[in-house]
Point group: C2
């Protein structure tokens, strides 16, 4: 029988999950829940029910895993504990400082309902976290580095859009190549933010706006830009539509460590993602972990988990024999 | 309390494990077992008992995990099932075609003894297997590639050494860069062996040997060299000692996949190892998995497992809270 999946919310990530489910023959999208008027929402997959989020409890017993696709700032802290009482759930909560609180709340709710709830799934946190824990465990005498990019930072794009005179903006995060090369060559430097990443912003100006003032306002914006080397490009609305409509992203997790007598040998691990579509890849990760959550819940596991708790065998649709035969 | 480890056999891999244990404060090397005369064997770590392999059963209750460091061809198929009756064990069995048989034998023995036994641990199989199963699960519409090198192939070095007129030889496996670039750019080609890897052999000739004949014999050797582009370099004994004494290795696991409507987005995952010391890195992987085996055995798990069965949390010495705080 297929794993029956529900999606709560319908933005970029939800569409990414919807696409990913179509690539997994053992998964089936059953329903999408929205806070808007369900009749106004058209989803891509035929035969999928669209219902109001207020009716989600009517689907108890009809959905194996509910994917909760709200924002980390205000949606998920409320939604995930709420729905973990009734469903096995997965979210992609990524406010790092608030993970302990979110974990505790979700754990309590899921245990109360006898459900399994995974938080912070995706690629970072998610795939990158996996690489960090495995690499650190294997090379305890070492240091790990996470570089992001090249990719669109939606938070930084939004921040640039709030500048006076900016009609539209798209902000890219780029890793500093020379910093990555230092790590690859066995150095274990302590970097500042500026030494690891730079930013590139493409801006469409409002008519009559002062380009120099806009550039200055962006480059000196605290938290978002002031700590980085920033290049600002002014482009037309047409160029924005033509060249910056996609949401690529990616990055690198590296661990540089030593082994042997007096640490004389350098060992280096590098994991790279190069993604044309951040939300579609994230959705693909969530679809694989939905399988794991369903299987682990069937084994009786309850409470809150993260990617650290999932044995890789649960991710694959293959039998364990087939996994060993084709992938070991 | 420390995890008490025993090592069976004392070659390059065993010394790699011994070094790795010193980097893991929660692990302790208790004993090394040898088939030779124990009094003739000097290990690096102070206070470690060296005993004959015939006495290994005297250590039941004194060792938490026994690392079995024999060869895959003849040692491990006998040793791992034998000792899995009495100890939690780990081996690095790497004869891929015989994994099902080995798994079944070890599983039977370990269940009989109520022990947990991990086979095929290291970096390939091992770390690379993990990357393959995770990447395939996340990107089901795609193809994965494993490239090895640059690194010393001991099997190919041995084969070259058996050629008439060769006094010493060291054979390196190298990935073909242009093939890797094709995969990175989103193509999903079907490669021949020659298209993925090339070989470089450094040879010290016996006095009076015919260099051209040696080169021909190596390049045409079936199974080992005939299917690859091979470069043979003739060097002096001094150069061999100076430039080829180490055992570096590494490689790449790549997965190229597509997501979205009609697979319009390319998503690419690449995992790279660049290792100064193959046996020390392998030993480091085994030391991390020894922790996992000990913990999982304490939870009552028995039978045969591989890296696919291990949740990443079991690899790290950190508490689960600390893992989420520092690595998620």
């Amino acid at each position: 029988m297929s794993i029956r999946i529900g999606i709560l919310g319908y933005g970029n990530l939800s569409r990414g999950i919807e696409n990913a489910i179509r690539q997994n023959p053992d998964e089936e999208l059953v329903a999408v829940f929205t806070r808007r008027d369900p009749s106004a929402l058209k989803v891509q997959t035929e035969g999928v029910t669209v219902d109001h989020v207020d009716h989600v409890k009517d689907y108890i017993g009809k959905i194996d895993v509910l994917m909760i696709c709200g924002g980390s700032a205000t949606d998920l802290p409320k939604q995930t504990p709420e729905y973990a009482k009734y469903f096995n759930v997965i979210d992609s909560f990524d406010t790092h400082a608030k993970v302990p609180e979110h974990f505790a709340n979700v754990d309590r709710a899921a245990k109360e309902g006898g459900k399994l709830a995974m938080i912070s799934c995706g690629w970072d946190p998610g795939m990158f976290s996996l690489q960090r824990i495995i690499a650190e465990s294997v090379l305890p005498e070492g240091k790990h580095y996470t570089f992001w990019g090249k990719g669109v930072s939606q938070g930084h794009s939004d921040a640039a859009r709030r500048v006076n005179g900016v009609k539209d903006a798209r902000s890219y995060t780029l890793p500093v190549e020379s910093a990555m090369d230092m790590v690859r060559h066995g150095e274990q430097p302590v970097f500042t933010a500026r030494e690891m990443h730079k930013r590139e912003v493409f801006v469409v100006l409002e008519e009559g706006a002062d380009a120099a003032a806009v550039e200055h306002a962006i480059k000196t914006m605290p938290d978002y830009y002031a700590d980085y080397d920033v290049t600002v490009h002014f482009i037309s609305e047409e160029e924005m539509k033509r060249d910056h409509a996609e949401l690529p992203h990616g990055g690198f997790v590296m661990r540089s460590g030593v082994t042997g007598e007096n640490g004389k040998h350098h060992e280096f691990i590098e994991y790279k993602l190069n993604l044309d579509s951040n939300p579609e890849f994230t959705g693909s990760v969530l679809a694989a972990y939905a399988r794991a959550v369903d299987r682990m819940a069937q084994k009786g596991e309850t409470g809150c988990i993260t990617v650290f708790d999932v044995a890789p065998k649960y991710l694959s649709p293959k039998s364990e024999e087939e996994q060993r035969h084709t992938l070991l």
